[in-house]
Amino acid sequence: MTVVQVEDLVTGYDRKNPVIKKLSFSVKEGHFVGIVGPNGCGKTTLLRSIVGLLKKFHGTIIIGNHKIENLSRRELARRVAFVPQLMEPVEGFTVEELVLLGRTPYFDRFSFENEDDYDAVTWAIKELGVEKLKQRSIMELSGGEFQRVAIARALAQEPRLLMLDEPVSHLDIRYQVKICKLLKKLRAHRSIIATFHDLNLASRFCTRLVLMKNGELIAEGTPDEVVTAQNIWKAYRIKVTIQTNQKTRRARYVLLP
């Protein structure tokens, strides 16, 4: 089942000079899609457009069976959740309270959180393995802990599509791997789209990759199909050779001397 379908998308901040220039791809349920490409290629812009933070100029974005413009913000928020690169920590909130904010699209005007909401919060906290931090203050968490809490908050939205902007770029390698493993696990019953700087990391954990340059698609497919010397030359203008990791059977690039 297709969770999100993007067709001929043109978007950006200036109509005359769009960041994304006609881009199409689709994501099926159960996939963990990595969006990669050089700095400024429009990875974040693409994400912002799919989560409804940026209006599109042209093309269609279909979430489930609905065109994005036909969904209200609340309806969209129940289907798509977003974890920004750096979420502001809220001083004075505990982990549990922060995760509960993820239930906002389910609250009615004259009522507050109910059993369902607490169940979703408990479930999200458990999925991310942060039960022990539940009552801790947000301000006391390390970068890696906070990122897991931020993802739990998005997961509490019970989205069909979870979008993350650079979820690991400010973390140490231990947490980079940990978060990637978690995301890979979480892709069941939903889809995940995340932007990455580290092509090898994305290749190692994602089920599919989208390689972009200047707002256009260079390659899309399985990591093996995307991570080729030719594609990397096209996108980054650097010469590499490709090795396949014997254990993981995933392609990774190695810089040429």
Binding site: S72, M87, E88, V90, E91, G92, T104, P105
Partner: protein, 327 residues
């Protein structure tokens, strides 16, 4: 670790605050230039006609300013925001000064000329600030705050001009300092709907205010209609503040320190913040009014002076405590 109140503890704490409020109100009713003995409480003319409306009005003004402060700090995402940040006080001051200068004497909907013009000009000021800040249908918090500052400067010039031309310095100045000395039952009745409607709106938008703690964009991805929410809440906060200003003049610091103080106590969740701030604001104002009438009795010190004298050092203390705890 942050110590969090459980639901039961939260209700108990609120009940405790309500108890303190009743106690402070009772003391306020008994004390004053004439001391009423508890035995004569129910048959005292002073009590029914003068003290009771005044004490109730003080409480209502405290509630209005505190909730308005919480709401504005929340939607503008600025800890320095207070009920007057969008130009309400400046507008109200000009309105009152015009009315006093012209010696206007009319009554609309049971409200006399000074409060009525102050109310109208307060809202006019916010309306101008909001409209000036709107770019492509969106009023950004920073622009709103800066427009408020600009309008305040402009209004202050007009105010000075009015004072110089008319020479009503004392009357205008007294109004600016804030006072509840002219409280009537009429005032109480006009203000009550603002307290109920404004407070209710703020409370039922606490989910949106909480989502906004994460930033405007995160709130949008959580399904919050940020623009509408901001418009509704600015309108609610402005009506509440304008109502308070029209009956009591400019009483500073309540709307600034109460939300900060309560945030330190119960955390940033608006569902707690709003009711706790409401009660604390009421207690603070009733107590401050009591001090203003009794400390130099029979002379009365404008409550605005008391609030600033106590409020400013207390605010600094809160800031320091926050910094120390943040370490």
């Amino acid at each position: 670790m942050v110590r969090k109140l459980t639901k039961t503890e939260g209700w108990l704490a609120l009940a405790g605050l309500a108890g303190i409020l009743l106690l402070v109100i009772l003391i306020s009713l008994l004390l004053g230039s004439v001391i009423i003995s508890p035995r004569d409480l129910l048959k005292s003319e002073i009590l029914w006609q003068i003290r009771l409306p005044r004490v109730i009005l003080a409480a209502l003004v405290g509630l209005l300013l505190s909730i308005s402060g919480v709401v504005l700090q929340g939607i503008l995402r600025n800890p320095l925001a207070d009920p007057y940040i969008l130009g309400i006080s400046s507008g109200g001051a000009v309105g009152a000064a015009i009315s006093i200068s012209l010696g206007a004497n009319f009554v609309v909907f049971g409200i006399s000329s000074v409060p009525a013009t102050a109310f109208f000009f307060s809202l006019l000021a916010v309306f101008i600030v909001y409209k000036l800040s709107q770019v492509a249908g969106r009023a950004a918090p920073e622009t709103l705050i800066l427009s408020g500052v600009a309008l305040a400067a402009f209004a202050s010039a007009i105010l000075s001009l009015l004072i110089i031309i008319n020479g009503n310095l004392q009357a205008i100045y007294f109004w600016l300092l804030g006072s509840l000395s002219s409280a009537t039952w009429g005032n109480v009745i006009t203000v009550i709907p603002y307290a109920l409607l404004g407070g209710g709106t703020a409370y039922f938008f606490s989910k949106e205010l909480n989502a906004l703690l994460l930033g405007e964009e995160m709130a949008i991805t959580l399904g919050v209609e940020v623009e509408n929410t901001r418009l509704i809440l600015i309108a609610a906060a402005s009506l509440m503040t304008a109502a308070a200003v029209s009956v009591s003049g400019l009483i500073g610091f309540v709307g600034l320190i109460v939300p900060h103080w309560i945030r330190l106590m119960v955390g940033p969740n608006h569902r707690m913040l709003i009711p706790f701030s409401a009660f604390s604001g009421m207690i603070l104002m009733v107590a401050a009014d009591l001090i203003s009438r009794t400390i130099l009795s029979p002379m009365e010190i404008p409550i605005g002076i008391i609030m600033a004298l106590v409020g400013a050092p207390f605010f600094l203390y809160l800031l320091r405590r926050r910094r120390v705890e943040g370490k």
